[in-house]
């Protein structure tokens, strides 16, 4: 089994990085929708802007 990990270490590391990024993105999206904010939409919604100060 260790051989498997070592052979594919590149793939595994990158996959974990991607997975983390993916989950982070999802979490950010869900949090934003819950607060009723638009997430990084190309707009100037009051909600987006002034919530940054929170």
């Amino acid at each position: 089994m260790f051989k498997f990990i070592i052979d594919n270490i590149g793939t595994i590391i990158v996959s974990i990085i991607l997975l983390t990024l993916f989950v982070l993105a999802l979490v950010k999206i869900i949090k934003a929708y819950k607060k009723g904010k638009c997430i990084g939409c190309s707009c100037d919604c009051d909600k987006c802007k002034y919530n940054k100060k929170d």
């Binding site: 270490i9 793939t11 991607l18 993916f22 939409c41 707009c43 100037d44 802007k49």
Partner: protein, 706 residues
């Protein structure tokens, strides 16, 4: 203990600019009334523990418009420690009218006298000491645009707030009215706190319905009597009596405050207006201006930028780099596919349009900053009214060219319920920033970056708005009295480039963040769902999860010319974010540079020019992204209306797209099994537009007297 500072003033008085200066934030400064529809908070720079609240611009504290009620309620209920009343020195009478009312609220007020540099430049003289004397308030000179005076205002505000000693001098009415007010004060002084006594009494005299006070029935009757008697004595309603007295008083004091030395010349603003709002040239000029914007953004400058980003950055550099990196670590092929075909392919294709979007945002921001857009509302009002909207509906729509969501929120400034509803239901027809990649994609891949195609998308949006206005107005649910249209026309501004740059940068940043989150997540999901089957094995795209779903949905779109599973899926994904349409294209058609015209594209994408345009039409007009739908629900107030809106928009999109496609085929000599149904649908649409309005409904709408 936190100090709370309220910022109050007329629209266009420089309030939000002052707010930005005080808090260091970057709130959007629009150049027409109605940009600030909610209060905004920020921390006062350089002071510990003080918050500044920017309230919507108001002309008075009457109970009629949403902005006034929001401001009023904030001051009464949240009891700020001090109010900064920003007064535009070039527009004294109307600004001071508000000041007389704000002082009555019992909270210490300091005046920030803005634009005094313009007054002095004209050669006029302003007597600040006199203003201090008359109002009893501290007066600080500021030039919000230049950033001058900000620190002084902040210091004074904190001083007054901590001293908590109100030297504001109340505005006194004529003796007769004063005694009446005093009489009412006596009647209610037991139930009303001392500092609110005068304000309450005046509001009761004005028959203000939103004032919050506990009265016994007996007291109410006595007050009613007083009001009736007053109205009889003065031969006018009490609201008008009070308002008249305020203005008379102000007229007199302004003479002592402001010495006009300058000769009245035609201002530059007026000279520009002679052309911009010229009877014959105005609308053509507007169309030319919008066309130029799309020309620069999509076709010329924008296209060059996009081409570089797509062919070089995302076509060579990044994929090459990624490939090298991945081979170096000996990664699995599925991972390579995920990263290169999926993430880079998808997110890259969306980011590829950034140059075009940036230029569009920049030009629109310039247009807004200069003040041209309030002129358009003025010009187009009559046109809009024929279509069931008002000039005020134009504002949300222009905001919508950036993003529909603030546009939908800006509809709050429309008092008339029906007009507001129609505006909310049609705002997202105007192509927003997120739809630009789709437009640029079609224009670029099929029509050689044509500016006309891009501009036609914008015209299409406006047409859809106008048609919808006509159609909806014929239903009883939307009929009602016409709303008044009274709007200030602020003077043209020399564009403030810092403002424009900041504004554009904010939008670009938002776009990139969106790409990094939603688009990224969606790209991963799309890649997965299009490369794996239900049994979670890697397969060819045609056998994937996404394909199986798409193949069921695709039939809906066959009559429209794009009945293949990839187009169907891309359209549906557009519901999450409109950029996803391009995201999906980038991954499903496996090209990183879909926006480039070129023979390869023609071979790969299964579209004709006609079907591509039909696809564009449908995606532009159908229901907007979830975030916008959520905004629609919030502003329109009910789920029922939200569904009606979605249904209406999608139906209109469908009918227009099918008509364009089938009629297009017909002109080319091709007759299909859908030709007749398409014609029927189109005739149905025409019917809804031209049918006569029920006479009974029309008679019920009286003359315009509110």
């Amino acid at each position: 203990m936190s100090i709370k500072i309220g910022l109050v003033g007329n629209p266009n008085s420089g309030k939000t600019t002052l707010f930005n200066n005080l808090t260091g934030s970057m709130q959007y400064v629009g150049n027409w009334p109605g940009v600030t529809v909610e209060k905004k908070e920020g921390r006062l720079k350089n002071f510990k523990d003080a918050i500044v609240v920017d309230l919507p611009g108001i002309y008075s504290l009457s109970p009629y418009t949403l902005e006034e009620v929001v401001s009023r309620n904030f001051i009464i209920n949240e009891k700020p420690d001090v109010i900064i009343n920003i007064v535009d020195a070039t527009n004294l009478e109307r600004n001071l009218y508000l000041t007389t009312q704000v002082i009555e609220l019992g909270i210490p007020v300091i005046i920030a006298l803005n634009m005094i540099d313009i007054v002095e430049k004209k050669g006029d003289i302003f007597n600040i000491e006199k203003l201090k004397e008359i109002t009893g308030c501290e007066v600080v000179e500021v030039s919000a645009l230049k950033g001058k005076g900000t620190n002084e205002v902040a210091k004074k505000a904190i001083e007054v707030a901590t001293k908590n000693d109100n030297c504001n001098r109340l505005f006194k009415f004529t003796d007769k009215v004063e005694s009446i007010i005093n009489g009412i004060e006596d009647l209610v002084k037991d139930t009303v706190p001392n500092d609110k006594l005068r304000f309450t009494a005046i509001k009761l005299l004005e028959k203000d319905e939103k004032i919050d006070v506990d009265l016994t029935n007996q007291t109410k009757l006595i007050i009613e009597d007083i009001v009736k008697k007053t109205e009889k004595d003065f031969d006018d309603d009490t609201e008008s009596i009070i308002t008249n007295e305020r203005y008379s008083y102000i007229e007199n004091i302004v003479k002592t405050l402001y010495l006009k030395k300058s000769i009245v010349k035609i201002s530059i603003s007026d000279k520009i207006d002679k052309v911009a709002t010229n009877r014959w040239a105005a609308i053509p000029i507007f169309l030319v201006v919008m066309f130029l914007i799309y020309f620069l953004a999509v076709s010329t400058l924008g296209a060059m930028g996009t081409e570089w980003v797509n062919t070089v950055l995302f076509g060579e550099w990044i994929p090459d780099l990624a490939e090298k990196g991945l081979t170096a670590i000996n990664s699995a092929s599925w991972l390579n596919s995920l990263i290169i075909d999926g993430i880079i392919g998808g997110v890259g294709s969306v980011l590829g349009f950034l140059p075009q979007m940036a230029i569009l945002f920049l030009l629109l921001a310039l247009l807004e900053d200069v003040g041209y857009l309030s002129r358009i509302a003025f010009i187009l009002d009559k046109v809009f009214r024929k279509f069931g909207l008002s000039g005020k509906s134009f504002i949300p729509m222009m905001i919508g060219t950036g993003c529909s969501i603030p546009g939908i929120m800006a509809s709050r400034t429309i008092e008339n319920e029906n007009d507001r509803r129609i505006t909310i239901m049609t705002t997202s027809f105007i192509p927003c920033g997120a739809k630009l990649p789709i437009i640029a994609l079609v224009a670029g891949a099929m029509f050689n970056d044509s500016a006309i195609i891009a501009f036609s998308a914008y015209l299409l949006g406006i047409t859809a708005v106008l048609i919808s206005g006509i159609i909806l107005k014929k239903f009883k649910a939307f009929r009602g009295k016409e709303s008044p249209f009274i709007m200030e026309l602020p003077s043209y501004h020399v564009p403030n480039f810092k403002n424009i740059a900041m504004h554009t940068w904010e939008r670009i940043k938002s776009f990139v963040i969106k790409a990094g989150t939603i688009i990224f997540a969606a790209a991963v999901i799309i890649w997965f769902a299009s490369n794996f089957s239900w049994s979670l094995r890697m397969v060819q795209m045609d056998e994937s999860i996404l394909a199986s779903i798409g193949k069921i949905i695709q039939y809906i779109f066959v009559p429209l010319g794009f009945g293949d599973w990839k187009s169907a899926v891309a359209t549906i994904l557009g519901l999450v974010a409109k950029e996803n349409v391009v995201n999906a294209f980038g991954i499903l058609y496996n090209i990183g540079d879909v926006s480039q015209a070129g023979q390869e594209i023609w071979n790969v994408l299964p579209y004709t020019a006609l079907s591509a345009y039909s696809f564009l039409v449908f995606n532009l007009l159908c229901a907007p992204c979830i975030a916008a739908i959520a905004a629609i629900k919030r502003e329109i107030g009910s789920s029922k209306w939200m569904w009606i809106t979605i249904g209406f928009q999608t139906a209109l999109a469908y009918v227009l797209a099918i008509t364009i496609y089938q009629m297009g085929l017909l002109f080319g000599g091709t007759f299909t099994v859908y030709t007749i149904p398409a014609m029927l649908l189109f005739v149905g649409l025409i019917y809804f537009i031209v049918r006569p309005t029920n006479k009974r409904i029309r008679l019920n709408e009286g003359v315009n007297n509110v």
